[in-house]
Point group: C2
Chain length 318, copies 2
Amino acid sequence: MKLCEFLGIKYPIIQAGMVWAATSPLAIAVSKNGGLGTIGAGSMSEEELRDQIRQVKDATDKPFAVNIPIMYGNAETQIKIAIEEKVPVVITSAGNPKLFTPVLKDHGIKVFHVVSSVKFAKKAFEAGVDVIIAEGTEAGGHNGREGIATFPLLRAILSELGDVPVVAAGGIADGWGFAAALMAGASGIQMGTRFVATSECEAHPAFKDAIVKAKDQDTVLIGGSVMAPTRVIRNRFADEVLKAEREGKSAEEIGLMFRGRSRLGIREGDLENGSLMAGQSVALINEILPVKEVINRIVNEALLAARSFNIQNLFCSH
Amino acid sequence: MKLCEFLGIKYPIIQAGMVWAATSPLAIAVSKNGGLGTIGAGSMSEEELRDQIRQVKDATDKPFAVNIPIMYGNAETQIKIAIEEKVPVVITSAGNPKLFTPVLKDHGIKVFHVVSSVKFAKKAFEAGVDVIIAEGTEAGGHNGREGIATFPLLRAILSELGDVPVVAAGGIADGWGFAAALMAGASGIQMGTRFVATSECEAHPAFKDAIVKAKDQDTVLIGGSVMAPTRVIRNRFADEVLKAEREGKSAEEIGLMFRGRSRLGIREGDLENGSLMAGQSVALINEILPVKEVINRIVNEALLAARSFNIQNLFCSH
């Protein structure tokens, strides 16, 4: 599948629907600049979500998406709003794709579903999902339990399921990674952390700075011993969760520790006590940039990588 | 750097030095078929190592490597043997590259060093290492503590250190992954698990079958709470280690659990009680093949991927 044609966009670059960070200004900027902007419904009330969708529709005629984590109690209402508002694309995650794919497709909405294993990829296509987003363990925020990295996950899905449309997500933030994912057979990429560190994103400036400062070793998976893990920049909160895990605290106790923490970190900029959801791509992000610049750079880097690539030249006749 | 020219080989494909599996028949087959075969010294006595090296030299004039984990007590002796036997390439891992790089280079030996983070990559080049092998969390066996996946690790090293020679290792077992790594700027790839599942490898047939059967979700990192983790195919032994970790057992106690287990799994084929070291690439390995066929396939797939790659075609003018 040619993802750009399917979606009616310029570049096969999807902005992830990060809670507390993927609001309308970011989605608008991404969609206006040739990618697919996404509103992250996970942290939104009904009114907020409807309002956010309308802001995007008022600002641009370009396609955009809403990401709805379907395990939450309000998922059904959010799906209903997406249908009423004629959202072009819904990205579902964290739940069974059979639940809402049929009703969304009946209303002419394109459905993407985030998966972390070949098994879930199969189930998503069986449920009628148009495109899957294969998210590796490198990715920020909520992560699959399986811990499979982006490239082996992508290759395993393509080699088991054949020529299906798969977007690669996790660990990609520059044009070489973008071109590599396309070379490995991805139909496009999804980026989250890279789009948080943009001028348009409504995340707190201190959180954006933390992404810029963080190095390759600075993210960690937390909560994984009792639930699906979350990748964050290591801080006091992360250390407290890891300590609670070592002490064998229950899933309920550890779950409670997370309450309110992503808002605290991402929107309020509390770098010690907040959950600073970010992926391993922090290592590749050294500047807060306007979205236009992020997209232009990654596209130009990918074109440069592709133009200078000559695999025969890398082999010898010894 | 053009790795093939530097090494005098045909394809920039390095066979990893897996304990109990990387013995002379495998190294000979890889080197004869255009890659860089490697003897894994980690599990060998002095006599065995010398004998293995001589077997390779007797069988082929092609270059080959010896992998020496430098944290073990016999590393100094093994380095001495490599020098005496005029081994063309030494791959050091699991330790400080300053220790032996100068003496190896004084004897005209090319030095590669395995790293799991940008920090260790910097240290390796400062120590005079020729090429680093960036090994991501996808890889089988002993793993870095940092948990960084292969592609973000590769990109982070190249973007921080500039145009340095980096071999990508971890999660790669087919030509699309090979081509993607080269596109992302790698000078070559290293594969371990793929080469275990070959007719020439002296690993136990039952272990090779376990690799063929294993799916994307079937490997797990064990021991990581108290030491550098090891990636294995999940079995009774792995579950026992994970249980001991949950119970807060000491590093010493858990370390003892590993004693003799890799030989038991890899050479004796005890699929329940052995340590079945393998990477996430198990998902991509569906057949035991001769080495010649593994190399021909991956090269042909990579050439096919590269020939059919046209990045402009993946963009639209919307």
